[in-house]
Symmetry: C2
Subunit: 367 residues, 2 copies
């Protein structure tokens, strides 16, 4: 793996140098992990003029799911409580850099000022989202971690569906799903598991309450596993009881059609906004334009919500090997709703088109 991290740092260094910066300071944890193999708490990565350094508050430990630092990277542990970003600035200056690109979208004003005050000979510039951009297209190793995470989430969800649901609370179902994720080998949940019943169903990011599952409810569930740091997502909606009501069947079919349209739009070269529109117009034309969520899907990787955003105003086009979610939903206030959410990898048509990672059935199951 070591060469992978070195190659990523080389790409970033080339971008920095092309932008006129001799050195770069990476502070955002997911970016540090991407470039260094691990991001111990508070650690920052200096891409120096002469040497790259991982600057930490404490010695890195080998913890499950946290990765270990690239062994070809020098690790510098600060002698006492200090800001690794400030220390890294001093080290950059000692390496004769004259400018240092920093992540202005992550660094606070106070840290930036502290950094500037200890590095009077350094010109601080903005690295922008250069690392986030490198992270968009995944290699097969990264996709493999996402695939395993998706399998784990499918297993956890499948087991839940075999158990008795009526009478149990959203919070207990969510906790049980998270326990099953860990049972099956996840580092942990990729994000807080969402379980929504009855009038709560269909709401994006619903936080589980003490409401109990009742006959006739929609039940929508959204969960994901983190595996070696990579985070995937699956969402499904079920109906509780023997026979769904007509409105439930109609709403489900509508959201299913929208989600399929979004999935089918995932091809290399497709504009982000066109994927969003493909799903959105199905719901729009059925009269659900109001109250639709602001996006149809998003990238996943070391963070659960990363670039690209599949949204009406998003700029850019999909590449092959970009994993994204497709997750339209409709929520009817007071009644509930439907969300269907998959993680897929964009692949060229010659390779069979989009690769579906989350394979739990999308038929409307009555449980």
């Amino acid at each position: 793996m070591s060469e992978v991290y070195a190659a990523r740092r080389t790409r970033l260094r080339e971008r920095c140098n092309a932008g006129g910066s001799a050195a770069a300071l990476v502070t955002r944890p997911a970016n540090v992990r991407y470039l260094a193999g691990a991001a111990p708490h508070g650690a920052v990565l200096l891409l120096g003029r002469r040497e790259d350094l991982l600057v930490c508050q404490d010695p890195p430990e080998d913890r499950p799911g946290e990765g270990r630092p690239d062994e070809n990277l020098r690790v510098r542990v600060l002698p006492q409580a200090g800001d690794p970003a400030v220390a890294a600035g001093g080290l950059a200056q000692a390496q004769d850099a004259d400018s240092l690109a920093v992540e202005e979208h992550h660094l606070t004003v106070a840290r930036h000022r502290a950094l500037a005050s200890v590095t009077p000979r350094l010109r601080l510039t903005d690295l922008g989202s250069a690392v986030e951009q490198l992270r968009v297209v995944k290699d097969e190793e990264e996709i493999s971690c996402l695939r395993i995470g998706a399998e784990i989430a499918d297993q956890a969800l499948g087991e839940l569906l075999e158990s008795i649901l009526v009478g149990r609370t959203e919070r207990h179902l969510a906790l049980e799903l998270e326990r099953r994720l860990v049972d099956h080998g996840a580092d942990g949940p990729a994000f807080p598991t969402s379980v929504a019943t009855g009038p709560n169903s269909g709401r994006r990011g619903h936080r589980p309450t003490d409401r109990r599952v009742e006959e006739g409810d929609f039940l929508s569930v959204c969960l994901g596993a983190a595996y070696r740091g990579y985070r995937c997502e699956i969402g499904r909606t079920f109906v509780i009881g023997t026979s769904p009501a007509d409105w439930q069947i109609q709403l489900y079919e509508l959201v299913f059609a929208a989600q399929r349209a979004g999935r089918e739009a995932l091809t290399p070269g497709a504009a982000y906004r066109d994927v969003d529109r493909a799903a959105r117009q199905v719901l729009d034309s059925a009269g659900f334009a109001e109250g639709l969520q602001s996006l149809t899907g998003h990238g996943v990787g070391l963070e659960i919500d990363e670039d690209p955003q599949l949204a009406p105003a998003a700029m850019g086009k999909l590449d092959a090997c970009v994993p994204v979610t497709v997750e339209p939903g409709v929520h009817l206030p007071g009644r509930g709703g439907v969300r269907i959410d998959d993680t897929l990898v964009v692949r060229p048509e010659a390779d069979g088109g989009p690769e579906l990672l989350t394979i739990t059935t999308k038929e409307l199951l009555a449980l």
Copy 2:
């Protein structure tokens, strides 16, 4: 409760005005919640010249444990995806403020720049940690939430001790504790539950692994409940099997003595560093100066780690009604160690001295 939030905002406004700022923008979520009653995702609080506003991306929802916004506070929902901090700046300018104090330790350089560019008539100043300072001394309502959270954590821990432990992994024990916290009414865990066995025991913030509990192990557990947003902490170390080894008994007694010394030093007016020293010197004098953690305890409240820090270089003195942890520990590489951690509220001697919130026994239990 509404008057409580209004009174907190009045105190902050007085500080701001004394510092020469007509208006203040609060962005750190725990600070927003403290002053507004709730902190919906991304929301910011503007203390304006004419009116206070909670500026949100989405309408606030009533979610368990998240609080609800003070009903006397105007809520402004942004019409589309935008930065609430930037929008709040525009609103401050519209209220004829000439300066706006912002949380430079929380706001990123990029957001600060965006804010400055839309508010050319506003001078941006630094609010510093003014809200964090207000949060240090708790009212009885806040202490009551911490007390209930501590009871919940005690219950969860007590139940775990009655079950079979040998052969179970750190990760499963941690998940079971978190489930029990929710069973007993917690919003959720106050922080990731730490379960450490054998050579891992005694490490602060240890992340649970797949190591299984074995006969003869030390088992150290650190957990806490969040209750109505307030977070407490308890840590205990046990020994597995019928009879602890001599080194285990000696190490336990030493850490217990250090922890007791720290607890006994908690009086109004005591310097933070003196509390730290009281505990630390017990360990120092037994030859454990090397490898000691950087602090002996810290404040708790809406965040699990807030001011004050009980550490060698900390400046300041304890007040009554400040809840803190006292949590010394020793870890012997390769062998394991002991941590004992309580949450207490500083009280004057006339009121009976420090109030212990986490009441699980600190005898060395052999399980």
